[in-house]
Symmetry: C2
Amino acid sequence: MCASIAAMNPADLGLPVDVPSTALFTDHYELTMLQAALANGTADRRSVFEVFTRRLPEGRRYGVVAGTGRVLDAVENFRFDSAVLEFLRERAVVDMRTLDWLASYRFSGDIWGYPEGEVYFPGSPILRVEGSFAECVLLETVILSILNHDSAIAAAASRMSSAAGDRPLIEMGARRTHELAAVASARAAYVGGFASTSDLAAGFRYGIPTVGTSAHAFTLVHDSERDAFTAQVASLGRGTTLLVDTYDVAEAVRTAVEVAGTDLGAVRIDSGDLLLVAHRVRQQLDELGATSTKIVVTSDLDEYAIASLAAAPVDAYGVGTQLVTGSGHPTCSMVYKLVARATSADPKAALAPVAKKSTGGKTSIGGRKWAARRRDADGVAEAEVVGVGPVPAALADHQLLTHLVKAGEVVAREPLEAARDRHRAARAALPLSATQLSRGEAVIPTEYV
Amino acid sequence: MCASIAAMNPADLGLPVDVPSTALFTDHYELTMLQAALANGTADRRSVFEVFTRRLPEGRRYGVVAGTGRVLDAVENFRFDSAVLEFLRERAVVDMRTLDWLASYRFSGDIWGYPEGEVYFPGSPILRVEGSFAECVLLETVILSILNHDSAIAAAASRMSSAAGDRPLIEMGARRTHELAAVASARAAYVGGFASTSDLAAGFRYGIPTVGTSAHAFTLVHDSERDAFTAQVASLGRGTTLLVDTYDVAEAVRTAVEVAGTDLGAVRIDSGDLLLVAHRVRQQLDELGATSTKIVVTSDLDEYAIASLAAAPVDAYGVGTQLVTGSGHPTCSMVYKLVARATSADPKAALAPVAKKSTGGKTSIGGRKWAARRRDADGVAEAEVVGVGPVPAALADHQLLTHLVKAGEVVAREPLEAARDRHRAARAALPLSATQLSRGEAVIPTEYV
């Protein structure tokens, strides 16, 4: 399903939210810098920008690249239509010459990047954008918005999915975040290992499986819990999931099995001491003969709560708030930095490395970089190697940057499943301590050569 | 400008992101509950849902209602078009009867709410949605998405704006959050007291003033800092803001004044010990005769950092990450609960209060509520009073809920400035300790009568 959708042109998808242009998801200063650079000719200097982060969120062992597919859509749709140009003119954001230039804007450069789902570490050059200064500088804001958001969600999802082991995770955080951030969150969670989402827009847009049970309101609108369960089973079948904590859990479980029979699909517990309640409910279900009825738990779960329920008779976890807020780290600290540029506007001019040199730990390393993950004899990752210049022969086959956009054309679309599978494999190739939930340093060091 | 934009139909605004329908920003279970309720007739029971929060984020003294205007847009645009219906049919989310019902969906009920910018406390009934169970239950997810996100951002913005005093705050967090959450964040920040945004889409969509300076990349693409400053001043005028921390700050300030003269608009400092550097830069600017050149500081500011710079010679603050992530609290814990419903589908049937009664502190209070803010003799708020039944005469003029949607028609559109002004007034009417940054309890108690 995902495969067929990914093969389509995004414009055909009938988005619930149509994105005719991503050009205004841009900071004001990108356009004023463009204006000044067009005026003195530096706009045409060949430039290399890189996206990287100086550190992982405190205590995290690895990061997860997510949003790459959305970046490709955003770059393709980065066009200034007449309404946008009129807005910029009316507000006097930039001059007429710049408006003329923007009217025909279309990214014609190259983008390389870590493929979606790959893991990353401090200094990993996750994305590299090459082209004229003018065409590259404009993409900064939208690229960072997407990668910083989606990667933060995917990192939380990855920790939760390793804590959950083989039990499926349901993403249900739409109500806790911006309505469109919710759609991107469901997508990033899927990359990070979640099985499904409650968000219908994410199902529509990305083909992610959607699931749902029922809310307390459904029980409360009925005259009794029995009436509510009867109505739900009658309409949705015995395979449905009944919510059993509106009044008394033990009574609800008894009623549920009376109404649906012993082949009731599942019950959901959304409050209380989940460890204790899950054990009691499992025992009660078994005693009632509903031995195959599953137990779904929800209620402010995070990776720690999920891990603490490993020994509980729980069949699936629904995760909301903590997923869409990145489990304490709702954004990454990725930056988009000019690392090299031509010494003149001549297209044949050599590239010179550049870097900010100032106080406050914000120094970056100049030069167009490659990256590779060195592995030990058992295939376990042992270092993230980042370099400028020729790639050592031993690392040539372990390079991480792939060509995503070639002379303005997207060349690396893939189904979301591919990113999800890649993430599982990349995480599995890290040292075992990567999935420890306790705080620590990046699980492998970054080496600069 | 905001006033004229708000007076237009949102459909005319030429959104950078067009939202033809908000119907899929909805959890799967809202639709399956609808199906079951349509089948047994409870769908038609008159119902009252309320949005409230059980607690403020830890340590916070008050909350800020934001997103109300976006909720009104979302309710108006909550329609199931053919592409959406086809998706629901193909995925077998709901049955044909439910699809038919959805095809003609249009909210026809009433919505009351705290007006945007108003402050709130635990238990405040921020929004009340009344209509049939079917039409109200569907709106849960999108309403909570908007209010939980936007109110979290506005609350952070409010704390930052009270810390900043009369100095303007610039919202510049777009790159740190989802590209559309960024637009909503700029809007919420404006309600909370920010003066402007870097986000062009927020300027386009909501008429918020946009501003910008330049990035390190602009300096680095030039052969020297002097070349970069010269280009920027030539193109954007002496009133521009020059970024002075790419190499050496003192040298950059000297070059800046040499290039732009003493009527240079401003310099921006984005790294280092801002308190120390601002003092040095102010002294240097003054010595160079640039006494009216302003100093803008940016670099991971939050309300505490802003407060700590109160005595520094700083003229404006640019805030990014901490604003768009709610300064540690990226979401509110607002819920949407059925609090009363008719005892039958008869439109004249009496409303009965309902409430979940279970473990885990998730109990809510049944009944259709009013709310008023009681003030002392000096006009200072002293309690949030929430009740069911008749409003005491002494509180009748201090009620907080206003009519937003009447029989499906939005009746309370207003310019964003109105929400911004209301917030300033509402915060000013709280006890002085409301704006203390230190952790504490809600600044006034919530009383239930």
